[in-house]
Amino acid sequence: MKHFTSICIAIMITFTACAQQTESTIKAEAPPQKYESEVVVSGLSIPWGFTFLPDNSMLITEKAGELIHVKDGKKTVIEGLPDIYVRGQGGLLDIELHPDYKKNGWLYFSYASAEGEGQGGNTAIMRAKLVDAKLTEKQLLYKAGPNTRRGQHFGSRIVFDNNGYLFFSIGDRGNRDVNPQDMTKDGGKIYRIHDDGRIPKDNPFVASEGAKTAAYSYGHRNPQGMTKDPKTGAIWTNEHGPRGGDEINIIKPGKNYGWPIISYGINYSGTTFTDITAKEGMEQPLFYWVPSIAPSGMAIVDSNKYPAWKGNVLVGSLKFQYLERLELKKGKVVKREKVLEGMGRVRSVKQGPDGFIYVGIENVGIVKIIPSK
C-alpha cells in the first residue's frame, strides 16, 4: 500500500512537472500574398505607439524616451517630455489623441515614471498639448503605485471609447501573486477615467473599501494591446501569458479575467502555477494562444481598403515576428493568418485616418500595408 502511494505521488509529480498544455486548435497559416508593404517611416528602434494628427502627420513614441513627429518624411524630436524611467520593459509607451483633438488639442501618453512613493517606477498617464514641437500644459492624470524596481509588465495601452471615457492598461508589474486579484493594489487591471483624470461615479469599484476606484476590470497579466471595436464600441484587449496562455478579452465592468488563478499558460521554466483554466466568477478569454505569440498592439479593420479583412482583428507578434490576422465568426476565432512575416518584432498596429493599416515594427519603422490590385 505504501508502495502504491509513493508510485501514485511519483506519477502525479511527473504529470504536474511536465504540464500538458492544449495547443490552440486553430493554427496561423501563411497568407496568400494579396498585399504589398511600404516602409513609410524608417530608422526607428522600438515604436511602442503612434497616432495621426489632423494634418495626417504622425506622432511616434520610442520606448527609449523620445517622442517623434513625422511630417512629409521629416522627423522632429518633440521637447518637454516628463522624466521617463527607462528600465526593463518600461519607458515611453503609448500615445493617443483626444476624440475632440481638433477642438481641444489634448494628447495622451503613457510612460514608466519614478515619481511618488518607493524606489523604482510604475506606469503613469499624462495629457499635454503640442505647441511648436514642445509639450505644454502637462497634467499627470494617473500614476500607479507603489514604485518597484521590477522590470516587467507596465501594460500601457490607451484607448477612448464612444462615450469619451479613457481606458488604459497596467500589467501586474512582475508581482503576480499580489497585484492582479487585489482591488486595493494597482497593476493587473484595466482602468477607466474621464478625459481630465476624474474618476467616473459609476466605475465598478467606487463603493469598495480601499479599492483603486479607477479600476474597471482585474485579473490581467500584461495587456499590451487594446482597441475599440468599431462596430459595437466595446473595448478589446490582448495580453501576454507566461509560457502559453496569451489572451484576447472583451472588457466588461467589474469582471475578473482570472490571472493568475486560471490560465492556459505555465511558468517559463515549464512548471505549473495553477491546475485550472476555468472558474466560476472568472471570465474566459475570447481566444487564447498556446504557444505564446507575445502579442502587442491591436486593431480591428473597418475601412474599405481591405474588403476581405473587414471586421478582422490584427495583433502584433513580438515572438514570431509577424502581424496576426484573426477572422471571427459568431464571436469565435475561425482562422489565423501571418501577415508581414519576417520583417521584425511587431510592436504596434493601427488603422490610419486614410483607412490604411500601419504597423510599428522594431528596428524597421512604420510599415503601411497596401492591398494589391
Binding site: I46, K63, Y85, V86, R87, G151, Y268, S269, A294, Q321
Partner: protein
Amino acid sequence: MKYRLFYVLCICSGLITQAQKEVEKKSSFAKSIEEGQFIYEDFCMNCHLTNGEGVAKTFPPLAKSDYLMNKRELSIKAIKFGQKGEIVVNGVKYNNVMAPLGLTDQEIADVMNYITTSWGNINKKMVTKAEVSAIEQ
C-alpha cells in the same frame, strides 16, 4: 616556551583570518550570483529563455556562448549600453538589437556572475561593480 606559544598563536590567528577572507570572498560571489538570478528572470529570460538557450537566429544563446565566455568586456558593454549590429555567437551570425536595460552597475555585475556560472558556463573570477563602472561606451 612562552614565546613559542605566542608564535603559534600568531600563526593560527593569521591562518584563521586568511580562511575567513576566503569564505567571505566566496560568499560574496555566491550572493552576487543569487542576486543575478533574480535580475536574469526579471530582465533577460523573456528573450534568452530559461536555460540561456536563446532563440535560433533571433536571440543568441548565453549557455555555452563563446561570445560571453571569451569577450567579457564586450559582454558587459552589451548589457550596460545595449548591443546592435552583427555579432557571431558559436559560429552563428546575429544581426539584431538588444536595447539598453537600465540596470545599475551592481545589477550588471550580479547578472554577469549568474550567466557566466550557469548552464555549464564556468567563471572563477567574480565580476565586480568596479569592473562594470570602469567600462565605457
